[in-house]
Symmetry: C2
Subunit: 253 residues, 2 copies
Amino acid sequence: MHTIEVIFTPALLPHYVIQGKTVVVIDILRASSSMCVAFKTGVKKILPVSTPEECRMFKDFDFIIAAERNAQMVDGFDLGNSPFEYENPVLEGKSIAFTTTNGTKAIKQAKAMQAGAIVIGSFLNQNYLCNWLLKQNNDIVLLCAGWKDKYNLEDALFAGAVIEEIGASFKIEDDSALAAHFLFQQHKNNIHDLVKQSSHAKRFTFLHLQTDDVSYCLQQNTCSVLPIMEDEYLVAITAIAPLLGSATGSAVH
Amino acid sequence: MHTIEVIFTPALLPHYVIQGKTVVVIDILRASSSMCVAFKTGVKKILPVSTPEECRMFKDFDFIIAAERNAQMVDGFDLGNSPFEYENPVLEGKSIAFTTTNGTKAIKQAKAMQAGAIVIGSFLNQNYLCNWLLKQNNDIVLLCAGWKDKYNLEDALFAGAVIEEIGASFKIEDDSALAAHFLFQQHKNNIHDLVKQSSHAKRFTFLHLQTDDVSYCLQQNTCSVLPIMEDEYLVAITAIAPLLGSATGSAVH
């Protein structure tokens, strides 16, 4: 039986072995949610980039450029990190270079640590993700992007939702996975109320940002896509067929 | 209003500012529990030491030497990390050099990061600790020792118990504190059942160790002592009188 683990923040990555494992990067508010929406809209590929400076350079190579820092869009970019922005049909077929405070950083760290498949999880594609994970013959790591290397509630909550859905098919050895599952069990009937208490949702309110983003990102199973890293890009799995050795699904390029 | 924060593992310390704050080091299974028992027994002082090699040297300086690694006593030492060992009346008035996998390391890291007062918390001295914390005029950090820099349930549970008892008197801004409190609220009527599921308790079973240690460490308020760092040593506060500036309590040397 394969294992399923939860890592509460990327800062804890050095204390885990993730090489060769299937890693699900979780940044509920809002990178992993926005990425799912982007692929549902028909975006061709997303390039996760470390810094706004690096991201800006891709403008010259026919990329849409998107950057968020401290929950706000960076000046001079085409897009920020609100999922509503990624519903725009003009994005169909386009390539996006994307940098965010937590999510894209976590993706790049997982890649640097030689994870196997790296995929993106959110409430929006939960069921699609879970079905795909069940078809992998591999250990699973649920990597919460957190907030600036600290634990956050909404990412842990979603890790718990995944364990609620597929945990019975895996061996759970670590306390983080148990704690995430407990959190979800405790709050599954009122996840909006829980996430509204989170530091991240309060940050949105403080910044007078579109707090509809929170409700948007807590919708379940609105996107039948799975963003997956292929080389340096995220592309979308939209059908079940072989990919990445033991993995299943076919990427749309 | 002062803040109360929870840090789930010492590996996350670099992402927090703890300078000048009152830090409670929590290593329920078993260092912080054993330290409380030791001072209840009448131990004079405890020197937290980084390595068994360093600890062994103190044998020549009239210290009792105690060392635990990977949940077991290290060969050649006087004591391991079971709270039962620290009930022995022969320890009265003695000094102990003590090294453990997680607890003493967390104490030394907090000291290196210039925490204000550093005290030791466990279920055994919970009420005594909480009363003392309420009398401090300072921000509080509940630092979970975890297991080899990973999150563990029993330390997070105790952090939640402290927040349940005194959290209303503090400002809670971080998601870790909310999550610890939720965990305690969910399990407060069956903390034994929860901790038996933890990776650490399972480790005890696997090693055929005295699993009574788990039940022992989950007793509440059996020790009216508060271990506190003074210079390089832990000493015990046993009465309420001024100490450490704004702190209250008197240390017994």
